[in-house]
């Protein structure tokens, strides 16, 4: 696709017409099978996926897709990962690709249209992305079933960070927890979801639109976990009566409304104090609160594309990401919690001090999300937006 892009741009620019935009599909349509029939392993034909080769091919360019803050923030982990990976595998080169604006949908679309996908690895896959893939493509599609025997360090991953994929396509590499962030000079810490309905917290909470925002959707799922599929809409109706305000994105609610002191509470991440102390903010306005002594865990995973050309390097990369140093750097630079058990990662004391782990982590797993997620979000949004 990249070459065609280049030819298209060059031709279009030179001739200033559409002449350069026509290209001939010279390969056979070999990506049609991305939609599932390569996953023979899942339908009865029990054979180990990607058996380990005698001499793995660790040369060449590995293309890794990730989201912006992984590669493009002040302290992003991406550049570090690239350098460290390349020094460990001297014949390899790691090339970052910025996740297109449509996120996982871009790749779902590509697969539906039979476009080949150039990238080898996807770093930053959520459970709901996986559900989206399987709800839209044939089950088990888009990514390869992993042979975890080839990823030595996969055993280090903490219990509870299993992403629940029945087709074993994804491994967690870090996790964040959704929690409340509040201003202790204005409100007391709410202990439970019911507390938020008290008059004390009237017009004090900022949340995000579950249609458009990751933490917003996580908070909604958290309420579904707490009140059940039949009870969550009632809870939200009560929240609305108590004046919750639902803005579009984490950015609007946090950098816009919360930082401008519109309200004393916002749905955010339990790692908030790490940023707040780094930016020199007063920590009294950055207290982390866990409702019901819980936090909603959003594990982030990595997976290898079905179409990957550098399969051996991709396996090596997955293993590398779970190494001690990589886990520490990702955690501290991206301000997320490592995916491995404590003994396999050394974190700075400062990180331990400011990044808070909830007493109990909750997540709605793959099985429950499958086929339900869209409906839950849709019902919630209709209830909420109806005039």
């Amino acid at each position: 696709m990249r070459r065609r892009t280049f030819v298209g741009t060059l031709g279009g620019g030179a001739i200033a017409g559409f002449a350069g935009c026509l290209s001939r599909e010279d390969t056979d349509d070999e990506n049609g099978d991305a939609n599932g029939d390569a996953n023979g392993g899942s339908n009865g034909d029990e054979q180990t996926p990607d058996p380990e080769p005698e001499n793995p091919d660790l040369e060449g360019t590995l293309e890794v897709v990730s989201y912006e803050s992984m590669i493009d923030e002040e302290t992003a982990a991406g550049p570090w990962l690239k350098e460290a990976f390349e020094s460990e595998f001297p014949d390899a080169e790691l090339e970052w690709t910025l996740l297109p604006d449509q996120g996982i949908n871009y790749y779902i679309n590509s697969a539906e249209q039979g476009e080949s996908i150039d990238a080898d690895v996807y770093l930053g896959l959520n459970i709901d992305d996986l559900v989206s893939v399987d709800d839209n493509l044939a089950e088990g599609g888009l990514f390869r079933e992993l042979n975890t025997d080839r990823i030595e360090r996969s055993g280090r991953i903490r219990d509870g960070l299993d992403m629940g994929d029945p087709h074993d396509r994804v491994l967690a590499y870090d996790t964040g927890y959704i929690s409340l962030v509040y201003d202790e000079t204005e409100v007391d810490e709410p202990q439970t979801f019911e507390d938020l309905l008290e008059s004390e917290y009237e017009e004090s909470l900022l949340a995000q639109n579950a249609q458009t925002s990751d933490p917003g959707q996580a908070f909604l799922l958290w309420t579904i976990d707490a009140f059940g599929e039949d009870g969550y809409l009632d809870y939200w109706a009560d929240l609305e009566d108590n004046g919750v305000r639902v803005l579009d994105s984490w950015n609007d609610s946090y950098n816009g409304a919360y930082m401008n002191e519109e309200r004393p509470m916002v749905v955010s991440y339990s790692t908030d104090q790490v940023f707040a102390s780094a930016s020199g903010h007063d920590l009294s306005r950055h207290q982390v609160g866990f409702l019901n002594d819980q936090g909603y865990a959003n594990p982030e995973g990595m997976a290898i594309f079905e179409d990957a050309t550098q399969v051996d390097l991709a396996y090596a990369f997955l293993d590398f990401v779970l190494s001690n140093s990589a886990q520490a750097e990702i955690a501290e630079r991206n301000v997320q919690f490592p995916a491995v058990e404590d003994e396999h990662v050394d974190l700075d004391d400062e990180f331990d001090e400011y990044a808070h782990v909830p007493p109990e982590a909750v997540t709605i797993g793959y099985d429950d999300l499958r086929g339900n997620l869209d409906g839950w979000v849709d019902d919630w949004a209709r209830e909420y937006a109806s005039q």
């Binding site: 559409f18 493009d72 989206s132 020199g280």
Partner: protein, 599 residues
């Protein structure tokens, strides 16, 4: 480039599994969530009696009562003035998503016109220091990405914002401007975007009013007010209505602003289209988009019919003279000048406030003044990796695409304008279709581009039609921009006296020569206004650019701003400030260069 991607998406609404169907329309039209009370009418259009009955019940529910309300008591002054108030109690009607969207768009349009017209009046009639620069900058809000405006509004009007800090200095507040009435703030934000648009289009028309016609009316005994009403107003009306129409269409399709400032309670149709597309439910998205487009195009058609009925006023480029705004102290204290000063203050708070607050935000952090955000940009430029977004390529691409857009959109807009003005009644339909880029939701256009051009369309014989990168971006920008050129040029062109062209032709000029020497100079102010819009559209365009620039080097300034928005906003706001400065400088240049041709 426009019809193809749009067509691809819209086909989803009427074709299901290869079979044409109207089922999605029926479903949406009869869903009270979308159409509120109207849904019943759509569901059973023949039960007229029943509908009339419920209408009568509703009308009977309206009551008018005289009450006395107290003006907003200020916390520190606690001054209460009783004001008699006619309270009209209207029983609630379920508006549905479409109803609410139209309602807020109508309010936003009224606000934009009310705030834009005084600005046009001042800019067109008075001379003061910096007038030309100010006129150039009226277009600035137009290029700001929605998120920047939202952050700017919070920084200005928020509880700890600039305005409350100022008011706190004189012992007032703090007021919860944003919190207490989100709808009002959203409407103000829409006015922030669109009032300058109304002002700009109106100024262009006002400056081409033939002052001799006013003088003739006056010499025939018309009072100043009468001359204004009978001579000037008819010439301004098409421009004001163009501004109002564009504002309505834009605010009808608003998306980021309502959600960022108002929240989900103020969701619009566009929000649902975006959500449907996110959930890969193209059928419902396309159905909503078709309904939205029909509505905008219908309005456009109605307006164009009106506009073409307004022709026949001959005019020459003899603009009214400008008075000095503040010639001396005594004149300054006249009621009219004081009103202008008052308006200036309001404009300062509404327009300059959010922008200044943004600039302040870029050089401060939690603990005070800092240049860290700019240092980040500089460092990123000097040491950044190739896969990271750098400031300079973004600035360069924005300017390059902007200029390239001008070269396509301005001739295209003028040609369409000339064609439709000459074509009479059938021209109205062509003109309406030419407005399609404005009437199609940005989200739909973006997704159409993705499916139709980025992924490529298979043609027979194994050929693949595919457009990506810079060329595609420029074409997308030009398509979005040319209607502005047309809309700025058409009213002027249609009110030109055909006799002038005919004389030129009779004296031996070719048709092209006549266009070049007679018509274009007379509509130059419209062309310059249109060109500025085209440039602004290109600089500010986000939704298709971000899709077309995915994974390539063709990102622009707004895309860079969005990319820098991670968990902390500092560098993004700094990049946004750069966007402001670069764009402001470009507009001053465009208007100054263009101004030379205005005579």
């Amino acid at each position: 480039m426009l019809y193809l991607p749009t067509g691809i998406v819209l086909t989803n609404a009427v074709v299901e599994d290869g079979v044409p169907t109207l089922a999605p329309f029926v479903e949406v039209l009869t869903d009270p969530f979308y159409f509120g009370a109207l849904a019943d009418v759509f569901a059973d259009p023949l039960a007229i009696g029943e509908h009339l009955q419920s209408l009568a019940g509703w009308i009977a529910g309206i009551s008018v009562s005289l009450t006395v309300v107290f003006s907003v008591p200020l916390p520190s002054v606690s001054l209460e003035i009783p004001i008699p108030w006619l309270a009209i109690d209207i029983p609630g009607v379920r508006q549905g998503l479409f109803g609410f969207t139209a309602y807020q768009a109508a309010l936003s349009t009224v606000a934009s016109v009310a705030i834009g017209l005084p600005a046009a009046y001042v800019l067109a009639n008075y001379e003061f220091y910096g007038r030309q620069t100010l006129r150039s900058l009226t277009i600035l809000p137009f290029v700001l990405p929605g998120i920047m405006v939202a952050v700017g509004f919070y920084a200005m009007f928020g509880r700890s914002g600039t305005l409350n800090t100022i008011l706190g200095g004189v012992g007032l507040g703090p007021f919860a401007f944003v919190e207490s009435n989100p709808l009002a703030i959203v409407i103000l934000a829409h006015a922030f975007y669109n009032a300058p648009l109304v002002a700009r289009i109106t100024v262009a028309a006002w400056e081409s009013v033939d002052v001799r016609a006013v003088e003739t009316a006056r010499s025939l005994g018309a009072s100043e007010r009468r001359a204004f009403r009978d001579v000037v107003v008819p010439q301004l009306a098409p421009a004001v209505l163009t501004g109002a129409l564009l504002t309505f269409i834009f605010t009808f399709m608003t998306f980021p602003i309502v959600l960022a400032l108002g929240g989900l309670q103020l969701a619009t149709v566009e929000v649902w289209i975006y959500d449907r597309i996110q959930r890969l439910d193209y059928t419902e998205a396309a159905t909503l988009a078709v309904l939205e487009t029909i509505l905008s195009l219908g309005l456009t058609y109605a307006y164009l019919r009106y506009e073409s009925a307004q022709t026949g006023l001959s005019q020459a480029a003899s603009p009214p003279p400008k008075e000095a705004l503040f010639p001396d102290l005594q004149t300054t204290l006249s009621p009219r000048r004081l009103a202008i000063l008052g308006y200036g203050l309001v404009a300062l708070v509404l327009f300059v406030g959010p922008l200044i607050s943004l600039v302040i935000g870029s050089v401060t952090d939690g603990s005070g003044f800092t240049l860290r955000n700019y240092a980040f940009l500089l460092e990123r430029q000097l040491e950044g990796e190739s896969f990271q977004t750098q400031p300079w390529p973004a600035i360069r691409n924005s300017l390059l695409f902007g200029v390239a857009t001008l070269f396509i959109a301005v001739p295209m807009g003028i040609v369409i304008s000339v064609l439709t003005v000459r074509a009479g009644r059938s021209g109205t339909i062509i003109d309406t279709l030419a407005m399609l880029p404005l009437a199609v939701s940005g989200v739909v256009f973006g997704i159409g581009l993705l499916q139709g051009l980025v992924f490529g369309i298979s043609l027979p014989g194994g050929w693949q039609f595919q457009v990506t990168g810079a060329v595609a971006i420029v074409v997308a920008h030009a398509v979005a921009a040319y209607p502005f050129v047309t809309r700025n040029v058409s009213p002027l062109l249609s009110s030109l006296d055909p006799a002038m062209v005919e004389s030129a032709r009779a004296l031996g000029a070719s048709r092209f020569r006549a266009l070049l020497d007679i018509e274009l100079p007379l509509v130059a102010s419209g062309i310059v206004a249109g060109a500025a819009f085209a440039f602004a559209i290109s600089i500010g365009e986000f939704s298709s650019t971000v899709i077309l620039a995915s994974g390539s080097e063709s990102y622009t300034m707004p895309v860079a701003v969005e990319r820098y928005l991670g968990r902390r906003s500092g560098p993004a706001i700094a990049m946004g400030t750069l966007l402001l400065l670069v764009t402001a400088a470009s507009f001053v240049v465009i208007d100054r260069v263009g101004g030379r041709y205005e005579l």
